[in-house]
Symmetry: C2
């Protein structure tokens, strides 16, 4: 008879595993493992997601995870998905908060906020951001990518972005904010003071704005 810790013993929306008592079977181990892995990924990045430590934190033996994930990589991918979801949500929330009426100014502002949200998330959550991009394939990026596409479509619709520049615009914008995120997040500029970083980000977003202007 073993005593497991009783974190996340309730499967949300799934009545089968509602026993919150300690027992041989955890009840909702998969979720508990993912949550523990997310904590580690958030704190230490992809390499910090150590299977045995995750199991320890879920109060379970070192091999239990193999009943729910084929290998470590599959667990890391789950964490990456969480990071991408958070990133996507952060972008959407930021864009929704824009209160500008002039159509052109509004479109430009939404694109800028999209980029700002991307970078802000990367810097606020370097571990999860790195985990996300250590693993992700293009198909899983739908959320963030769609937000960027929508912002660019709006810039096109209001006449700010000329049609001949629409092709590949996602990529040039994405590259800019992604590079900034890497350089300042976990890269060579990660020790730079916040003040300087903010100024650099503003200028970067200004240049992106310039680059799209007709």
């Amino acid at each position: 008879m073993r005593c497991n810790v009783d974190i996340v013993n309730i499967a949300p929306g799934d009545g089968r595993y509602d026993a919150a008592v300690s027992s041989y079977h955890h009840g909702n181990l998969r979720e508990a493992l993912v949550q523990a892995a997310v904590v580690l990924g958030r704190e230490k990045g992809p390499d910090g997601i150590v299977l045995r430590e995750v199991a320890r934190r879920a109060g379970v033996s070192h091999n239990a995870a193999y009943r729910h994930f084929a290998d470590r990589d599959e667990l890391v991918r789950e964490v990456a998905r969480v990071g991408l979801d958070e990133l996507s949500a952060a972008m959407q929330a930021r864009v929704k908060r824009v209160r500008v009426t002039d159509p052109v100014a509004r479109a430009r502002r939404r694109l800028r906020e999209t980029g700002k949200a991307y970078v802000d998330y990367a810097i606020a959550e370097p571990g999860l951001f790195a985990t996300a991009f250590s693993v992700v394939a293009l198909g899983e990026l739908d959320g963030p990518y769609e937000h960027l596409s929508a912002a660019l479509d709006e810039c096109l619709a209001v006449g700010f972005l000329p049609p001949e520049k629409r092709d590949g615009a996602e990529l040039s914008c994405w590259a800019g904010v992604h590079g900034f995120s890497m350089l300042y997040g976990t890269g060579p500029l990660s020790e730079a003071p916040k003040k300087e970083r903010d100024a650099d980000l503003d200028r970067l977003l200004d240049r992106i704005d310039d680059s799209l202007r007709g």
Copy 2:
């Protein structure tokens, strides 16, 4: 009496260790270790630089490296330096090859080649590029950064880049090419066809050019 393999037993420019015969003492182990580590880093990235494998390839026991490097990290940093040197050299070589006489066209072209060289190196050598940026501090980036600065100075001098845009121009350019390199090098776009990648790179460099124009 042990038989070490006889790779890099000649210390370049150092006559003291010119015995190329096998012996207990390697002769130029530090260099041999760095070279083996560079090979691993080139093939598999920073995580592929495994101390014991490096030692194996240098024909030496698993602990020998500790006479030359404090720990694994110090060896990885050496590999990073090699990567940065190669990157810097690639940028310089590319810029030197520009044959354009018109001053403005020449300045723009040199900036473009600077960026192209950066991305090309990142994609040709994803392992070393990732190793370099897994470790590097700002101070060690002098080479590549100076080349970019010089190209931007030239754009300013010939009147293409307006003075009010000069501040922070390094960063917006760097972010763009760095982000592109990450996305296409080891990131979510690494599986994309070369044709598409080339088109995207051209458009990115076009947009950077646009963004600096007065």
